[in-house]
Symmetry: D2
């Protein structure tokens, strides 16, 4: 049986990535593609790489008949998403890829996003979409909030260490390097090829990146006390990929063990042998996350590093993994594509 | 039923691309990976992006028991390939990705490759692997010679035009731009990132590129007379992709019609609407080839452009497509992966 | 003695490139930087790479006192330039980098740019700024029109061949590959890093690129008859550089001789030994143009290739070279910077 | 008066960068270019971007008559350098760009480089070449040891903070991102374009990078006690540039003040306004270093970031700056070239 799928925000990168993945998914069929600004166009005009697919044309969200839809992906901008989802049927299964339902606390949402939440009830209902840690809740959920791509990477690295009590909670530093597509298809001068290629820089330095809201929420919940990490993202000239380098206090052996205990049975998380470091180029285009652990020369200090593809494991692949759970499909369906290298 | 597959030359890019594609192919199973120089290593050491797969370790070719193998891909260097294949069982189905069996005429081979052919009998037996034009022969073949990646691109563009008689055979120019992976994983100074990125140049200028041997052989056969085109490849700073810009004399309408007649039912060749030009970024990582036709402002002159991924449609994807035919599997099996963009 | 220089349009790439070059020019001093949209900002905010320089803040054009200015560079958008220059003092020396004064014929201007020219008198006065071919006129000029960057590249390649009568005028093809900065600092989706990197495509195919207006004007004037070439630009993922591959009928020897005769004494044009092909990476950031000639395997056909940096020799370097002439400064002053490689 | 200069190792990137810089230096003249492996070739063959220069051909080191040479740059590989320099005249002024004379302690050298030092006497004589901190010693030196490029970046960031006592010495983390040219023109598989572009990874993780020897030596000397920092380099797909992100304990205000006090009069070090972060793209091709300071959201923690071009300020530009001092030339001569952006 094939489930009917709608994608809202189909003209953005995460929307296109969903289409790419679902294209070879045997249990899903794309029934509607919503994109208000490009309604009326065919997907081949907006994304020529998808022209071989037999897809419905882009329509406005109002034009979609949701009664026939089994599950809806919302790949809309932040703030728009909460407005749109508020107006959708209350029994429609939704995987939201925006930031709107990641934070459970309305005050935290307002602090990080600068405006009061317009759908507080839905905020309470939403399940946080980090699959490997909320699998049961996601299976039962109606509304799942996809995580931030940076937030996912950092959590894959640090959650098991905090949970296992193998690192000092006072001194956690996450130095993250991310590719360009994480900023979306937005017309900003600093995203032009001529501005970006052949250079790199830190941004949102000093603890102002919004994904810190997720780190604070999740790490504090695990630890049972307030946890505040340092987090500095850097923009590097590549289209896909997040590399998170974590500096922690703790023994490398215990850290590797904690990660192994957590991930040994996970289909998408690959823990490298002790001492090896991962690379974003080895997960590109795939739903895999590679994690490495290396002891520092200074006793008691360890470097942990995670690599994933921000558009796949960091957003659209994660979303599909969650949708599989919600629709009672094999969790890995449509997601076992090998990374594309070189 | 799953066919047992061997890949010789598994430590190169086309070998790795074959593994990537076969990884989600339901009718094939990788039984042996040969790579003399890296024998003894696991595939995850040589290609960490494949570490999630359960693959046999690399072995020397001598160690492989070919009796159990249903089909063998040879992704070995030119010249090595003819030696290795000569020593393989004569009833083993083989798809060769090297240049060794592309040219049917031993003299032509010697002219373009500089040495006499060491397996002339096999050279005669081999079927040229441009699937869409040799489908029946490939289905019945034991030994298929994968085409050059540039040669495939140019032929997709020009074969239907020569066959339909809609262009002048005297003035055909192919200006080709190709990505870096076409040169393979070879240690050459001019393939270093610092040498290549942020610049581009023509090479093998003046008609010295070996793929001209294939153009000469194939175009002359179609036309029933000698056809010699001009062909200038350029190296551009991207890993994957070939863009072939053809300058021909002929009416754009008739040219578009000839291409449509040839390709309308082909699963992997997409003819764009008249006046549109393709881009390599829209076929990356996939087995698709996009073709565009634009009339020049000068009456009677037309520009035709083709884009494909050199590692997929240009070599390993083509090889798998041919293997599917040889093993009586659905031709598109394992090959419908959508391109990866951005 | 130091000449006082104004730059209008200082917030764009060609404006910044002018500042970069003039920074080490001993005979010029930047007295005013105009940029209406960013007036009030310091240059370090708009272009942090220039922060070490002691530069005037950006102002609106109205705020500039032109009485003190010896020469004004206009690096404004097309159409804006003719309006602004019309309002400047009639005795002010101006080097315009826009397209507004490249075409001498108002009808040709309207054909290629889609609107009637608003300053026809100035159009007549303007001298075409291809230094090596208009040196005397430029020395005496008040208003010099910088050439298109693609137009400059193509002309360096073809003018001497047309003038010397060594090629057939009926079959000239220019297949050009250009970097991203040629499109300027414009907010267009197809100039985003995520859209551009790792791919390449042809644009303005079929003879619609505006620089054809310059080719038509100049080549016809040299030949004394109408000359129409084919010209297809391609966008490649690099920030700087134009590589023009020309396909002509003519003997390679005569062609090389014609180029040598023209360029042997030129300080910025380097003719490579017969058979060698240039690369954009070897002229990056410099005012040099490298030219190569290769005989095709087909007798009587020759490939000629030119490489230059679109922002330097193709626009701002050319502009400075012309300004040197207009101000009676050594022509090469400030322009002998070696290319930056890698 | 023009000083006669020899460059040994002229076929590598730092050698070529020296030639590029000296090309417009009014007080130096390149008298000899040594490169044993490419002796007999012209520089235009080895580095076509320098073909416009009138340079001596490459020769073996033995062929150079050092009696006429005023200063010799050694851009040779590590270990080769100490052998070659041992055999040079003892009164020849030398700026060495290798790692051979950076560490003053023979035991430290052997620990980090794995072999005993073959020229211990010279090791004692050599002055460490971080110009801004060893200016007087360099002026009087015969043999100057250029610093590691990563080591220079980290020291520009941290030396003033350690000297001023404004940071905790126990918890210093340097997360560094560097471009590809830092690895030189070496034929290594992991430096191929196809391996490197579109991905990034950490290497020498855990405190094994040799530049730590310099950090240990210098920081301990300043502090008057053992200082051990954490240092993790990452390779990113760009040709030039080092971005060093430092995580320190200390007040941002005091840190900014300490940097300002150190660098306000320095011609090449630009301290950004508090809260701003630098980018490698804004120093590319130049001898400038940009430094930024940002307070973290966690009180008492500060992020400090430095950007420079590894081939210029990180090696060849630094070397020329030192040579200027040694030859009693204006320190900034030949080095005020503005960065090349975009």
């Amino acid at each position: 049986m094939s489930h009917k799928i709608a994608i809202l925000g189909a003209s953005g990168y995460t929307g296109a990535e969903l289409v790419r993945l679902i294209a070879t998914h045997p249990g899903m069929e794309i029934a509607a593609l919503g994109a208000n600004s490009k309604a009326g166009q065919g997907m081949a005009q907006v994304f020529p790489h998808l022209r071989h697919l037999d897809l419905p044309d882009l329509v406005t969200i109002d034009e979609i008949g949701f009664a026939d839809i089994d599950l809806c992906f919302c790949a809309l901008p932040h703030k728009t998403s909460q407005e749109v989802i508020s107006a959708l049927p209350r029994d429609l299964r939704i995987v939201d890829l925006s930031a709107d339902f990641r934070l459970r606390d309305p005050a935290a949402y307002e602090k990080w996003y600068g405006n009061p939440h317009a759908a507080v009830e839905l905020q309470k209902e939403a399940v946080y979409g980090l699959t490997e840690f909320y699998r049961d809740e996601i299976r039962a959920a109606r509304l799942v909030a996809g995580t931030g791509c940076n937030a996912a990477t950092g959590q894959y690295l640090l959650r098991p260490l905090i949970a296992a009590g193998v690192i000092d909670l006072e001194d956690i530093i996450l130095d993250l390097k991310c590719g360009v597509s994480g900023a979306g298809r937005s017309l900003r001068e600093n995203l032009l090829h001529a501005e970006l290629s052949e250079g790199y820089h830190a941004y949102a330095v000093g603890g102002t990146h919004r994904h810190l809201g997720e780190f604070d929420q999740e790490f504090s919940a695990i630890a049972g006390r307030d946890v505040r990490i340092q987090f500095t993202p850097h923009l590097v000239p590549a289209n896909r990929g997040i590399l998170a380098t974590g500096y922690v206090r703790g023994e490398a052996g215990a850290i590797h063990d904690a990660l192994a205990a957590q991930y040994d049975d996970e289909p998408f998380i690959e823990l490298l042998p002790m001492g090896e470091a991962p690379s974003t180029r080895h997960v590109r285009g795939s739903n895999f996350c590679h994690i490495g652990v290396v002891a520092d020369r200074i006793p008691g200090k360890t470097i942990v590093i995670a690599a994933l593809d921000n558009l796949t494991k960091g957003s659209s692949g994660q979303a599909l993994q969650n949708a599989n759970l919600m629709l009672d499909i094999q969790e890995t369906e449509g997601l076992m594509l090998a990374p594309v290298f070189p």
